[in-house]
Amino acid sequence: MSARTVLHEADVSRALTRIAHEILESNRGADNLVLLGIPTRGVTLARRLALLISEIAQTSVPAGALDVTLFRDDLAKHPTRSPRPTEIPASGVDGKTVVLVDDVLFSGRSIRAALDALQSIGRPAIVRLAILVDRGHRELPIRPDFIGKNIPSARSERVNVRLFEDDGAEGVTIEA
């Protein structure tokens, strides 16, 4: 059980700053942007990205949380999960550019569930996907638009993301 650190604290913050710039570039500014994180750590990352984008663009960008538990297709394969709160910014999602934010992209099933969950809330004009770590092994035709770091991994390995707000420590490790 050896854990190897693949992203240190400074790497995480550099990756997020770069993603913030990329989001602004692809959206041509901060207009109509809404960042929605997938609990738990995706929400923290969405809040951080919203702050970074707000600083760079000098205008406030709303961030929220989008729980996908009730939309998952693998509920019967695990002990019952408790849903987490969904918080949609007051401006809503209709006609907006929604950036979904998650910590690790693996099979892509959470993102499929997130697209369904989003549909039940409203109709965004555009949906993009920002991810801190892409570890491969996709099971669905889903591709991120903004990536912090690609980390090739074996299917059996565990990728752990730690963030100060949720875990009291920061960094990404990979465990055999």
Partner: protein, 321 residues
């Protein structure tokens, strides 16, 4: 969670988990599209041996909002009126592929029998059995009290220090029993107010205080007053002289409701006997949560069905919740 049979054996953590998931379910019910795909392909049977409108349609709405298929089985006009036993009815439902059975039965303990007899493998939800328990009603009452008190900040909170007065026919009331166990587990102080003839014999073993005078209980400024329905169909003995006298002494009239402190709420599980245990002034006042209780009932039942049906079956893993 495998079954939901009572609130007496429900521990605090499980009760809070149900209430917190109900909060999430309630959030989804304010969305444009209220239907969730969560229980697609599961079948819920409403097995009702007693008349019920609101509990049955509440369970039906909850199951449908989660995309489960619903089969309604009312005993009246069915094979049961031809003398079929509970065992045969249950096994018929099992053979049709029921994943959960929501049962209401006039005999206390019928859901327990269904869950433990080995006749069926489906999860069992008690929707009211005799004078025993009605756990989802108590859960929705606790949810309503918590929501009125803490609003959007309700998640994770219990009812410590909340003072609840339950008034009326405690003797025949499964709602009162389920509420006594659940509310005290969650830390609330419960006072029962009832005519001496309608107090159960073993009440001294319950974690509650019993008063016979409603005005005395209301003078202590409770946070919630829960009025029980006088079950006219069970009034088979002279429990009180006249309805008029009952209404005077134990009914919630305009004078009593106006004397309550600011934040107090008035609850009733329905259906109400207006003019008997509750006056129209009280039922229609700002304090009344009667309709909120109905709305919250759907969310709470969605949470219960979710916990019973969504995850891996406990008996396949040997875990719980």
């Amino acid at each position: 969670m495998r079954h939901l049979l009572d609130t007496r054996t429900l521990d605090r953590a499980t009760a809070l988990r149900i209430l917190d998931i109900a909060e999430d379910m309630s959030d989804t019910q304010s969305r444009e599209i209220k239907k969730l795909p969560t229980l697609r392909g599961k079948t819920v049977v409403n097995l009702f041996f007693e008349d019920s409108t609101r509990t049955r349609i509440s369970f039906e709405a909850a199951a449908k909002r989660l995309s489960a298929d619903v089969i309604n089985f009312a005993a009246k006009g069915s094979s049961v009126s031809k003398g079929e036993s509970l065992k045969d009815t249950a096994q018929t439902l099992q053979a049709m592929g029921a994943d959960a059975v929501v049962i209401r039965h006039p005999a206390s303990g019928a859901p327990q029998t269904l869950a433990t007899s080995g006749w069926i493998s489906a999860g069992v939800v008690n929707a009211g059995d005799g004078t025993h328990e009605h756990p989802t009603q108590a859960l929705l009452d606790a949810f309503t009290i918590r929501k009125r008190r803490f609003g959007d900040d309700s998640r994770g909170r219990d009812l410590r220090g909340v003072r609840v007065v339950i008034v009326g026919d405690v003797l025949h009331s499964r709602v009162a029993r389920s509420n006594v166990w659940l509310l005290t587990t969650l830390g609330a102080d419960v006072t029962l107010v009832s005519p001496p003839t309608l107090v159960p014999q073993n009440v001294s073993l319950w974690p509650v205080r019993v008063l016979y005078d409603l005005d005395q209980a209301l003078a202590e400024e409770p946070d919630a007053v829960m009025m029980l329905r006088i079950q006219l169909e069970r009034m088979n003995a002279a429990y009180f002289p006249t309805e008029r006298e009952y209404s005077r002494r134990w009914g919630l009239d305009a004078v009593r409701v106006n004397a309550l402190p600011g934040g107090s709420i008035v609850m009733h599980p329905g259906p109400m006997n207006r003019g008997l245990e509750i006056s129209s002034d009280a039922a229609d006042s700002e304090r009344s949560t009667v309709l909120e209780q109905v709305t919250n009932g759907v969310s709470v039942r969605m949470a219960v069905l979710y916990l019973l049906l969504a995850g891996e079956r406990d008996d396949e893993r040997g875990g719980d919740l």
